[in-house]
């Protein structure tokens, strides 16, 4: 039997017989999609809002009506004074409040500015700023309409979010989730499975064989390529089926780029395994060295623009950063290779560099 086929068979046995790990690896991505999709949404719904209107009029009732009919907001009440707001915010009954000035109706007709106060619960800054922008949009639209109706001329600023007009967070997290899952399955599992052979002593037997260490590593990682690819399909399927995420670009290109990223993660796993002697070390190295940058420094959770300069420069060597740009480009913007060739080239370069590094460090002996 061919040595490579023998390796793939053996490695597949390892994966399939460790039932717990197998199901965790296969289902974890699916569970993560559902969690991110339902629970960890950054787009907000049903924000509990109160409106303070000391002098109700037709115009202000129109604003109340706008908030009441929006699915983003849940109107908790319209009050004449600000007295009850503090308690509402503190107990969490209220997350946002719009405070209209006295005689809003009169101010709308005049030339003076209309001072409206928008109070937002900033305990969670991310959702806070999202709530703020939704409320602002509603107020602006109402203001523009009221002013036109009132007969004066004002500047009308029309804002629009391109590609993701409703700011659906599924479009944001699915690419990041693919990167995260592939880092775990491809990089961490390869590193662990190679160091396991070192730890149990089987590597000693394999090294004495006429196989070059490269053949050993290739045989070992091949099943993880398949596993990673299955995960990509699962995540994409769930994103499309459950959350209706669009795929505006080419599916073939998307899958090819995912394959490239799988190879990149595998190469990282191999490099880790060349220096780690135990499974524990390999796991910690993969978690701290790969998982955290993939989460934090790729633009998945924190916008790259908000990072301090040294960290922002560092993100350039985080493969997930480029992968995220590619996947978002293909899925959300419908971009093709013509626009994404730079990012793709960077990923190809990184993968080759890592493979060369891994090859040079792969020992043909024990020392």
């Amino acid at each position: 039997m061919n040595a490579f086929a023998g390796f793939v068979r053996k490695e597949a046995f390892h994966i399939l017989r460790d039932r717990q790990t197998f199901w965790i690896l296969l289902l974890m991505p699916l569970v993560q999609v559902l969690i991110f999709g339902y629970a960890v949404r950054t787009d907000v719904r049903d924000v509990r809002i109160a409106i303070v209107d000391p002098t109700p009029s037709t115009a202000t009732r129109a604003l109340v009506q706008r908030f009441a009919s929006s699915t983003r907001f849940q109107l908790m009440g319209v009050y004449p004074t600000m007295q009850s707001l503090d308690d509402g915010f503190r107990s969490g009954v209220l997350r946002q409040a719009v405070v209209l000035p006295r005689d809003a109706d009169r101010l709308l007709r005049g030339q003076a500015t209309l001072p409206i106060q928008l109070i937002t619960d900033g305990a969670d800054p991310n959702t806070g700023s999202v709530m703020q922008s939704y409320a602002t949009a509603i107020i602006q639209r109402w203001h523009a309409e009221s002013v036109v109706r009132a007969g004066s001329l004002r500047i009308d600023l029309a804002t629009r979010m391109r590609y993701n007009p409703t700011l659906e967070s599924v479009n944001l997290f699915v690419p990041g989730l693919i990167a995260l899952v592939l880092t775990i399955v491809s990089a961490m599992m390869t590193a662990i499975s190679i160091t396991r052979e070192k730890e149990t002593g089987t590597m000693e037997m394999l090294l004495v064989s006429p196989l070059h260490p490269w053949a050993i590593v290739a045989g070992k990682v091949a099943p993880y390529v398949a596993m990673g690819f299955a995960n990509v399909l699962l995540v994409l399927g769930a994103a499309w089926g459950v959350f209706g995420m669009p795929l505006r670009g080419s599916l073939v290109l998307l899958l090819a780029e995912c394959l490239l990223y799988i190879l990149n993660a595998l190469a990282l796993g191999i490099v880790i395994s060349t220096s780690a002697q135990t499974q524990r070390t390999a796991m910690i190295a993969a978690l701290a060295g790969l998982l955290l940058p993939t989460l934090m420094l790729s633009g998945f959770i924190f916008p790259l623009e908000s990072l301090p300069t040294p960290l922002r420069l560092f993100t350039n060597i985080v493969p997930a950063r480029w992968f995220l740009l590619i996947v978002r480009g293909i899925m959300v913007k419908g971009a093709g290779l013509a626009t994404l060739w730079q990012e793709t080239l960077i990923l190809v370069g990184m993968t080759l560099a890592l493979l060369v590094l891994g090859a040079r460090r792969l020992a043909i002996r024990l020392d």
């Binding site: 061919n2 040595a3 390796f7 046995f13 002593g201 037997m205 006429p210």
Partner: protein, 319 residues
């Protein structure tokens, strides 16, 4: 055994260090084709470092190490397909069945179980009933036989076994050595290491290793015959009491507990056995211990090793 043929293993002044520790210190020896050659020595003697170097896994710091005429450093790839190796811990995959383990190692060495069956058949016959059992659930003796099959399946020209019987029960150990006998009779050169001195007598030649050096190399019979002093077995109910007394006897060269008896070596060569027995008995009784049973015995291989190891340690302390 063909004494005139070039040696299967040829080691000259081989030294290997790890940091400040010299694991193997200027070792010189050879193994003849078809020989069953044993390395005996305590843990830390440098046996594993030596074996790993012989199978191309480590590089010597100094000296030359040649196996089957090939240099272990420069002819690495030529050698790797020709040697069989069983590392200290039997390296098997516990979640694969016995047969799957064997199949895998056969494929890694570029052969198949069917092709290798003629070589491993005598061993595999004992394992066949457990072919589908996971390796992790096999007994120690079975694991060890399976590891031997895996190391042999590609028909190597020479077999290196690093402490194959450590942690295995006495019956399995004997069965294992019977298998090695058969393999040697089939013409295979075997180099084996063991911490068990009783296994030394099953080798054609043995080398006694201690602290990275070889203390002596010879056939077990020659090593026994060369014991330099009169040796006696001393039998008494209070073993520890008499041990302490004997060690104070002015002419005692060595006193070691051996199972339920003591082995006493007298420092005076060429003296009559009966005279020594009388003197020892008198000394013991004078120290308040009841008269023991004393008889002159021929040295066993263990006595010889204990003697040389004590001498080696003494030399170390003086030097």
């Amino acid at each position: 055994m063909d004494v005139a043929a070039p040696p299967a293993v040829d080691v000259r002044a081989f030294t290997r260090r790890f940091g400040d520790v010299t694991a193997v210190d200027s070792l010189t020896f050879d193994v003849r084709p078809g020989e069953l050659f044993g390395f005996i020595g305590p843990d830390g003697a440098g046996k594993t470092t030596l074996f790993r170097t012989l199978v191309t896994l480590l590089v010597p710091d100094a000296g030359s190490v040649r196996v089957l005429g090939y240099d272990v450093v420069t002819d690495l790839w030529t050698l790797r397909s020709r040697v069989g190796y069983m590392p200290g811990r039997f390296s098997l995959y516990p979640d694969l069945s016995a047969l799957e383990n064997l199949r895998f190692f056969a494929s890694v060495f570029g052969t198949s179980v069917e092709e290798g069956m003629s070589i491993i058949e005598p061993i595999w016959r004992q394992l066949a009933p457990f072919a589908d059992r996971r390796a992790g659930a096999l007994s120690g003796g079975m694991k060890q036989k399976l590891a031997l099959c895996c190391a042999l399946v590609h028909a190597p020209e020479i077999l290196f076994l690093d402490e194959p019987t450590t942690g295995v029960d006495a019956v399995s150990r004997r069965e294992f050595w019977d298998l090695l006998d058969r393999l040697r009779d089939g013409g295979l050169t075997i180099v084996v290491s063991t911490p068990y001195m009783d296994e030394a007598s099953r080798c054609d030649r043995v080398a006694l290793m201690q602290q990275g050096r070889i203390l002596l190399v010879d056939t077990p019979a020659a090593i026994r015959a060369a014991y330099p002093r009169p040796l006696f077995a001393v039998q008494a109910p209070d073993r520890l009491g008499i041990l302490a007394v004997l060690r104070r006897f002015p002419h005692a060269a060595a006193v070691w507990p051996f199972g339920d008896v003591l082995h006493y070596t007298d420092a005076r060569a060429g003296m009559d056995d009966g005279a020594i027995i009388d003197e020892v008995r008198a000394f013991v009784q004078a120290n308040g211990v009841p008269s023991p049973g004393i008889s002159a015995i021929p040295a066993g291989i263990e006595d010889a090793f204990m003697w040389h190891m004590a001498a080696g340690t003494a030399g170390e302390q003086v030097g």
